[in-house]
């Protein structure tokens, strides 16, 4: 479904061009959850933004190819890219505080993708939005629909983001550190929500995180990045039991261990 080959990302907003991603390869089949792990600055978010077609075409020069369902994301006309974004590919971000527009009601924001990609009327859109809010396990969707982002907690906001991202039943959901800013208990809830969505709707998920233990709970396959390079990739359990790269070993040993008894 998604095929990324030899992706290099170079930034040209400084005098000396800076390469942030080297030779990035990735394949995602529909319905799969793939983890992308690395520390801040490893290029994981940049790769994800490129896949979602969100990297500015002027500042960032990209080489290689990103093909999503036959569409060449890097070189296709903007209209085609726009028709894919929010419809077949959608994305959720780390900071649920800043990724929702503070002056618009939740309902309006959840419906945005419907407004752009479908010709549903107002009533149909509202029905669909309420259904989605219920889907992400928010109590009292009617009230949430009418609320503003600041009236909700961090966990609720992230659920709203997921509802907005999932409303057109995309084929691929890119989740960029969706739980990092949340409390542990809420983290666990969001992870199980993503799991459920994947199982019920068959949406493929690219799950970006710096937390290997979280990735282990969610993803069958994992890619480890460091300073712009992929240093390890494969089945999650395989990587845990037999890490090839020194950095991966380091990551695994950094997970705090609790051994009762």
């Amino acid at each position: 479904m998604l095929h990324v080959e030899d992706l290099n990302i170079e930034f040209h907003d400084h005098i000396i061009p800076e390469t942030v991603v080297y030779d990035f390869d990735l394949d995602i089949e529909s319905g799969e959850i793939v983890g992308l792990v690395g520390e801040s600055g490893s290029g994981k978010s940049m790769s994800a933004l490129a896949i979602a077609g969100l990297l500015n075409r002027h500042d960032a020069r990209k080489k290689g190819s990103i093909v999503f369902e036959g569409i060449d994301i890097l070189n296709c006309p903007r209209e085609i890219l726009r028709s894919v974004q929010g419809d077949k590919i959608s994305m959720i971000f780390q900071e649920p505080m800043t990724s929702l527009n503070p002056v618009k009601k939740i309902g309006w924001q959840v419906e945005e993708a419907l407004r752009i990609h479908t010709d549903m009327n107002k009533e149909e859109r509202k029905q669909k939005a309420l259904e989605m809010l219920k889907e992400v396990e928010l109590d009292d969707p009617e009230r949430i629909y009418r609320s503003y982002p600041h009236q909700l907690s961090g966990g609720m906001r992230q659920r709203v983001m997921i509802a907005a991202a999932m409303i057109n039943s995309p084929k691929l959901l890119i989740a960029d550190e969706p739980t990092t800013a949340l409390d542990v208990t809420v983290q666990a809830q969001i992870v199980s929500l993503l799991k459920r969505i994947n199982k019920e709707k068959g949406t493929a998920i690219l799950f970006i995180s710096h937390d290997l233990s979280l990735v282990r709970q969610l993803c069958k396959r994992v890619i480890v990045m460091k300073s712009g390079y992929i240093v390890d990739s494969g089945e999650t359990e395989e990587i845990f039991s037999n890490p090839k790269h020194e950095y991966t070993k380091n990551l695994i040993s950094s997970i705090p261990q609790v051994k009762l008894d």
Partner: protein, 253 residues
């Protein structure tokens, strides 16, 4: 509450602490709203102990830390220190170091204010502390902007140690850092605690990190301490549903 370390010297006593804030008025005619943040907190800390303080954001754990250090007003209750110059390590290493000063200036600030050491003695002490946190002394001339998050947090730890405190309060010192760096900082804190005989109040939301580092753990919810005991006791046999839920979410139970 807990009977650990009963025969040791007390270093901190918090008795029936209440803190509430008044919300800023949004218009001239609004009534001031009072928000209770801490609702009757009592606990003791003993010399050489690492105590974990766990709770979700908004439960009042940072307020408790600041109250203990006199950084905000308390409404009711007592805080008794049995040691001099308790210090704090903050969560975000990006705004806990003054960006316009050199590392040397930052480290020597407290010595300038509170001791009579001369220039050379101050520099020697700064070098020593930097070395103890694993940085070499050429960092003295750098400014915080030139350091990585992990290095900054090391500088913060060195800075907290400049006055030879006995009590250190660490407010989520690793949650803004990458996992591998987290592990290094935890190791560093554990080492320093042994070397210097510190008592550390370690605030965190990560029960796994608390397990690695702490002897004792206190669970906080809605401004109250709802559980207090040795890490083993609490993790094996949690008394409240909330603690159980926390343990479950962390994948421990």
């Amino acid at each position: 509450m807990s009977d650990v370390c009963n025969n040791q010297t007390r270093i901190l006593e918090v008795k029936d602490l209440f803190v509430s804030f008044t919300e800023e008025k949004s218009s001239l005619f609004d009534k001031k709203k009072k928000i209770d943040v801490l609702n009757g907190i009592s606990f003791d800390m003993y010399e050489g102990e690492i105590v974990g303080l766990v709770g979700e954001s908004g439960c009042g754990k940072s307020t408790l830390a600041k109250s203990i250090l006199g950084l905000n007003k308390i409404t009711k209750g007592d805080i008794i220190h049995y040691s001099q110059y308790p210090q704090m390590i903050f969560q975000d290493p990006y705004n806990s170091l003054n960006p316009s000063k050199t590392i040397e200036f930052i480290l020597e600030e407290s010595l300038k204010n509170l001791t009579k050491l001369n220039v050379e003695e101050r520099r020697q002490k700064a070098k020593k502390r930097l070395e103890q946190v694993g940085l070499d002394d050429h960092y003295l001339i750098h400014k915080p902007g030139e350091l990585s998050g992990g290095q900054r947090q090391r500088v913060c730890i060195a800075n907290a140690l400049m006055l030879d405190p006995k009590l250190l309060i660490a407010d989520e010192p690793v949650s803004a850092l990458d996992v591998t760096i987290q592990a290094q900082i935890i190791k560093l804190l554990a080492g320093l605690q042994k070397e210097l005989g510190l008592s550390i109040l370690f605030i965190s939301h990560d029960l796994r990190v608390v397990y690695e580092l702490c002897d004792r753990v206190m669970i906080m919810k809605d401004g109250k301490i709802i559980e207090d005991g040795t890490v083993d006791e609490v993790y094996r046999n949690p008394q409240t549903d909330y603690t159980k839920q926390l343990l479950l979410s962390a994948g421990i139970m």
